[in-house]
């Protein structure tokens, strides 16, 4: 890919000829020449910006399409991530910081472009290295903090590639107290296997290892760590060959052909004291041990004894975060994270957990707030916001389910957009016009990218989400729903078959259009999108016009007074299956990527 200097070189003759012809000084500031017309600039295209834009199009389009090219992008990205050795995605870090040891690739050019424009790219499920123990550190991040010279950083980086390590725990003994002798001498670490695929690195010159050893002395005295590592908090990327079972002192060993053997201890005398020594003999084949129950160990063989060192804890798999919900508040104690001001206000004895639940029950019985409807019990928070604060009640859900099966259900959604604030409304009714359920929700997004198109698309997404939830809950496999909307553009983009290639993934508000396509693919019944004329008051009022007016009224009402947890957000939540998103100015770019 071309650098900014290359791009300037190519366009220089053209600019030198063009600017005088436009009666502009050829030395005019390039900010004016390439600035947008809305800012008073000439609006000429800058090759470097165009190149970056096209790169972004390729990346986003192919990753969303999930084709071979997209997979190759992810492969390249994984190596850039591996070689930067940071715990956060590279596109959320400044490129200049990591430039000294990052190889010049297609991705690194894009990374540089994104940093210059303050853009960031978020991937749905990126691979990121983690710290596996307490008091552990990322070695390259530590080297950066020390403000070392560029050539020393490059040498340290090559040593890390040679040793195939990322964090300090990768080069320490299993008890977390000492550095491995191989790591200090610059030899491959033999007793551990690597889960990652590393680039090839041949032997390094002695100068690199001298820099490496000097670097190690910043957190070690000799080979002893100044701050020993603690318990395991994550699965490491290295695999141990030895595991120790503390309950019965069994030793498990992985052989070079990936099979396992177990060694049981035998004691020389029946009387066990702290001086008695165990002998491990006669290994027997066994299945792979459970890494979460046994302790990783290292075994050092000497001429007359075998020393077993083991960790004091087993590997931990981090537990997933608890589900969050906007509709119910199942916090163990409502006063857990109360600010100190409110703590003083409430006094030393806030209501106990039991009292809180009793009060909550009383409120529910008094119908001040409704209980969570069953089809929406475990709805992800993204869909909770989409549907809004008042999802269909259990009775409404069963009525909707019955109407779906009888093919007598109509639904309508409408959007509202006023001064960058969007909202949508939805209505479910029978074909005769009897309203079954209605509601409204916010439309999240940057105010400058908000449009009536986005609001309408959000309304359709909410309607489809409700239908999908009800179909899954009542196990409906056949039926028909007519979904009305007063925007022909949205209907065309959502209900018509989309184009092939990467182009559709960069259309306006494709996040919501893509979500609707996913929902339509999952809904097991027939959905027909129909256009209805908005704000139309004929003499004979048909049900479709009535529900359109109601949806519109709901959206406008919600827009003027949104529920507390449902105020429109500048940064939309990520929808499930988004794969990749572009961020700028603390919001997701949903439209007008080039202008942004």
């Amino acid at each position: 890919m071309l650098s900014q200097a290359n791009c300037r070189y190519i366009k220089a003759p053209a600019l030198a000829a063009l600017l005088p012809k436009l009666h502009i000084n050829r030395h005019a500031p390039r900010v004016v020449v390439f600035g947008g017309k809305i800012f008073g600039g000439l609006g000429l295209k800058d090759y470097f910006i165009d190149q970056g834009y096209q790169q972004l199009r390729y990346l986003v389009g192919h990753i969303k399409l999930n084709d071979d090219v997209g997979q190759q992008f992810l492969i390249l990205l994984s190596y850039v991530q591996l070689l930067t050795r940071t715990s956060t995605s590279v596109f959320h870090q400044p490129y200049q910081l990591f430039k000294p040891w990052t190889e010049h690739t297609w991705v690194s050019t894009l990374w540089e472009f994104c940093t210059a424009l303050k853009l960031s790219i978020t991937f749905e499920d990126p691979w990121l290295p983690t710290l596996s123990r307490t008091h552990n550190i990322f070695l390259m991040e530590e080297a950066l903090r020390l403000h070392l010279a560029t050539h020393i950083l490059q040498d340290i980086n090559q040593c890390l590639i040679f040793l195939q390590v990322i964090t300090l725990s990768d080069i320490t003994t299993v008890d977390g107290r000492y550095l491995l002798p191989e790591a200090i001498q610059g030899l491959p670490i033999q007793d551990r296997l690597n889960n990652l695929t590393w680039p090839h690195q041949q032997h390094l010159p002695p100068r690199s290892w001298t820099h490496w050893r000097t670097f190690l002395q910043f957190f070690c005295t000799g080979n002893r760590l100044r701050t020993p590592l603690g318990a395991w908090i994550n699965m490491p990327h290295q695999r141990w060959r030895w595991y120790y079972n503390s309950a019965d002192s069994l030793l498990y060993h992985q052989l070079s052909d990936d099979t396992w053997e177990v060694l049981a201890p035998t004691y020389t005398s029946t009387r066990r004291t702290r001086h008695s020594r165990a002998q491990y003999r006669a290994p027997t084949p066994c299945p792979p041990p459970s890494f979460h129950q046994f302790f990783p160990a290292s075994v050092t063989t000497s001429s007359n004894f075998v020393m077993i060192t083991h960790s004091n804890s087993s590997f931990k798999v981090p537990s997933p975060p608890p589900p969050t919900t906007l509709w119910v508040t199942p916090s163990p104690s409502p006063f857990l994270h109360t600010p100190i001001f409110f703590q003083r206000l409430i006094g030393p004895n806030p209501p106990s957990k039991e009292s809180c639940s009793a009060v909550a029950e009383a409120i529910v019985q008094a119908s001040l707030i409704g209980p969570s409807p069953s089809p929406f019990l475990h709805t992800p928070i993204f869909f909770q916001r989409l549907i809004g604060p008042n999802p269909p009640s259990e009775e409404s859900c069963s009525a909707i389910a019955e109407a779906i099966v009888q093919a007598s259900l109509i639904a309508c959604s409408d959007g509202s957009c006023n001064s960058g604030i969007g909202s949508h409304g939805w209505v479910f009714a029978s074909v005769r016009g009897t309203i079954i359920s209605s509601g409204a929700g916010p439309v999240d997004g940057h105010p400058s990218l908000m449009s009536s198109y986005r609001s309408e698309a959000s309304g359709i997404a909410a309607t489809l989400c409700i239908i999908l939830k009800i179909c899954h809950h009542y196990e409906i496999t056949r039926g028909l729903v007519l979904c009305y909307c007063d925007s022909k553009g949205v209907l065309n983009n959502i209900y018509k078959k989309c184009q092939r290639g990467i182009t559709p993934f960069l259309n306006t508000d494709y996040d919501l259009v893509h979500l609707c396509h996913t929902l339509l693919a999952d809904i097991p019944i027939e959905i027909r999108g129909e256009w209805v004329k908005g704000h139309h008051y004929p003499r004979q009022m048909e049900p479709k016009y009535e529900i359109n007016h109601l949806a519109d009224a709901n959206a406008i009402k919600f827009s003027s007074s949104p529920a507390p947890s449902f105020t429109p957000r500048k940064l939309p939540l990520s929808y499930p299956g988004f794969r990749v998103q572009l961020h700028c100015d603390n919001s997701i770019i949903t439209s007008n990527l080039y202008q942004t």
Binding site: A17, Q55, S208
Partner: protein
């Protein structure tokens, strides 16, 4: 059948491909499956690996030629080329090996002819034209930049000589450089993967 295999660092993504064809343009690729021999020196290792990979590509290319011939097609071997990307190590840093560092050749039979024709070899730093852009296996864009600069230069010569009355028309002519050169600035990012490398 030999393949080009690309695997992510965490092994989540694995892409295997034999090649890519676009109308009558085909690119075949293989990646090395060589097992290092501890008894060889570093230079010998590079040569052995290159030789192994060239053999894989040769087999694949001959198989492709046979498939084409049996379905009524043919390859023009003099219009074809091949290259290999392998590295020499100097002070722990990798440098792309030249033809002298990794010698080898590919020769194929075509149709009923039993004589083997040698396919021209490109160095990794050479550029070749494909689909309107000049690509280089090493990723250098020097030739592409020079060609684009030449376009811009040739466009402006008549513009300098025009009368002021034609200013507006000529200005638009220069502006058309943007539309003329821009599409050729962005070669497909993965096109380097289409050809043989190790």
């Amino acid at each position: 059948m030999p393949l080009a295999t690309f695997q992510s660092a965490c092994s989540r993504q694995i892409v295997k491909m034999t090649g890519i064809t676009f109308v009558d343009d085909s690119s075949l690729s293989v990646t090395s499956t060589y097992t290092p021999n501890a008894t060889l020196s570093a230079t010998e290792q590079v040569r052995a690996e290159a030789s192994h990979t060239i053999q894989l590509l040769s087999n694949l290319a001959q198989h492709w030629e046979r498939l084409l011939f049996s379905t009524g097609g043919a390859i023009n071997l003099q219009k074809s080329h091949w290259y290999i990307m392998t590295w020499n190590w100097l002070n722990g840093k990798a440098h792309l090996a030249t033809a002298a560092d990794a010698p080898g050749s590919i020769s194929l039979t075509t149709g009923d002819n039993t004589y083997r024709d040698i396919i021209p070899r490109l160095a990794p730093t050479d550029s070749f034209r494909t689909l309107g852009v000049y690509l280089s296996p090493s990723g250098t864009q020097g030739r592409q930049i020079q060609i684009l600069w030449g376009h811009a230069d040739s466009y402006i010569i008549p513009t300098w000589q025009t009368q002021p009355s034609h200013r507006r028309r000529q200005s638009f002519r220069i502006l058309s450089i943007c539309t003329h050169t821009l599409p050729t600035l962005y070669p497909a990012p993965c096109s380097l993967k289409l050809t043989a490398d190790t």
